[in-house]
Symmetry: C2
Subunit: 352 residues, 2 copies
């Protein structure tokens, strides 16, 4: 469908770009439609109509996340690629095949057109790489000072085949805890950028789409062997494990020495007094796997480019007097044991 | 599933409520989970798994909208009910039965707990009334001054039965243009509240869920008789009709005298120099209907409480020298004819 509206040049976002008139049409024609083009979006209705896989008995997976990360550009990614990866990953952690995305933009008056284009192109690239499509969207503009350049809310729709069941309630004593790679990269990349810190070795976000890694893991193990998958974002690995331990009413024992941390990330954390186990990741998954299938699971993870550094980091335990249900205990490098609790407040606000 | 996390009292939102730790858990346990409770949400994973109607051949409808309306409370509604109604309506205008919603909140540091509760309760009430469920969500907190109390992005999933096809490309010459009631109520309610204007007769938003009105209309007419439905929000009735005229490459002729406007809205518009045809509505629909079924369609609209003031306001015409494809012409009250173009910029920013 061609659009006879005159297309208007602009350098900066103004309130009128969110008002539904010719300026809004210009923004859509210039920035969003060309970057995200696909048949559902091209129909330009207020809702997208999409088909689903024909497999009877499957279920729809739905997830939503607002992204408010600051700064919007950082080593290893930007708010656009992050918004795609984060939503694809939330679907993948539920065992879903990601299919469609919706993207809603809250733009701040005065936001530079060149920065918006960069974000949109990055999203478009991430969407193509992940094999999904942005089929519908929305754009609002808020007054200068009432936003922070751009906030993006991405909602994902996926399809979970019959027989796949992954949930934080399914961990059992004896299960092995696998981690797909190093922790702390995303959070420390953001913090370094935000605070203007420079380290000898550059720290880059690990932002990546994990759906093929998750699919490979599920394909390599029988149904039910993988109990639960999580991408440890806000609150880091420690928070994800606490949520699973509480959901399944089990204890967990983690070996600090087994959790890989890049030297530059470890140095930055030490300098700033931050525990990398609580720092956000955007391209890692933690898997709770039945013990007899843990080796096959680990091999499947390591065979994928995003899981090359995968490792066993601990095990699920039956609750006892020392480790009650819902507790995650860390066996530290110096031989002690400490409780890895959920943090009360933030170490790093606006990390995603 | 019960949650053993300690629940923390709070009066105002702090950055930690968005950091994924205990404060985030407290916010979810205190505000969101009790208000929106349903089995999918209660599973508390990062994605909701939901079932779809078993009818083969149907299609999924997906829509998303960010709501940044200011003020957040206004006569006739608030940002919470508006976020539900707006998304339900976008689904309904595509002929979809609304099923599931996702809700993502961007809260400003310092936002009052009491106001958040009021918004959340209003959303919960709107969701129950519309027969849908909020099955997944997200909460982020931005620094004071980088938001405006609360922004809400709602994404809706609906199901379109086979045979239903409504689109802006389907209007044909001779089709009748029906409107479900008065125009301008929502926009003028917001503007009056924002500017502290008082009129003799109070102006209230028309914010309402239109899915049963749309369903009644479709049930009263044979498949294909209703070509297109739109809820004229941002940009008002004039913008919606322009989009349909352009999408279908037809002209439209509208009779100004036939478009109902409440006296208080008309007075306020005259005072402020605003054309009510461009003012946002949040509880009205415009329907393009085949001429032989227009009377039945009108009866169906009028039989519904939200369509009591429904009327014919004009007709679709074949393009000619006076009215080219994509043009909407208004026959004015004083006997003239003027082009009802799309506005270049906003009359009223942040109306939804």
């Amino acid at each position: 469908m061609t659009c006879p509206l005159p297309v208007t040049e602009f350098e900066r976002i103004v309130l009128g770009h969110g008002a539904g008139g010719k300026l809004t049409a210009a923004l859509l024609e210039r920035c969003f439609y060309p970057a995200f083009a696909n048949p559902s979006l091209d129909a330009r209705n207020d809702q997208a109509l999409v088909a689903l896989p024909a497999s009877a008995g499957g279920r729809l997976a739905l997830t939503t996340d607002s992204f408010v990360v600051t700064p919007i550009f950082f080593p290893g990614g930007d708010i656009g690629s992050l918004a795609v990866h984060g939503t694809v990953n939330d679907l993948a952690m539920g065992g879903a095949r990601p299919l469609y995305l919706a993207a809603a933009f809250i733009l701040e008056e005065g936001f530079a057109r060149s920065d918006l284009d960069r974000v949109v192109q990055s999203m478009a690239k991430a969407v193509r790489a992940a094999g999904v499509a942005i089929v519908t969207g929305d754009t609002k503009v808020v007054n200068r000072g009432h936003g922070d350049q751009v906030y993006i809310t991405t909602t994902g729709v996926g399809w979970v085949p019959e027989g796949v069941r992954l949930s934080a309630e399914l961990a059992r004593p004896g299960d092995q805890i696998l981690l797909s790679g190093t922790v702390g990269d995303h959070g420390m990349a953001i913090l370094s950028q935000r605070e203007g810190l420079a380290f000898e070795e550059a720290i880059a976000s690990d932002s990546a789409a994990l759906h093929t890694l998750a699919a490979d893991l599920l394909a390599a193990t029988p149904a039910g062997a993988v109990r639960c998958l999580r991408d440890p974002t806000r609150g880091g690995l420690a928070t994800s494990l606490n949520e699973i331990a509480q959901g399944s009413r089990v204890a967990m024992r983690l070996r600090q020495a087994a959790v890989p941390v890049r030297p530059a990330v470890a140095s930055a954390c030490e300098l700033l007094g931050i525990d990398p186990l609580y720092v956000a990741n955007e391209g890692k998954l933690v898997a709770i796997v039945a013990p007899e299938h843990a080796e096959a699971a680990l091999e499947a993870l390591r065979a994928h480019p995003l899981g090359a550094n995968a490792c066993r980091i601990g095990a699920v335990a039956a609750p006892d007097a020392a480790a009650r249900a819902g507790m995650v205990l860390l066996e530290t490098d110096i031989g002690g044991t400490r409780l890895l609790d959920t943090l009360f407040h933030e170490q790093l606000p606006r990390i995603c």
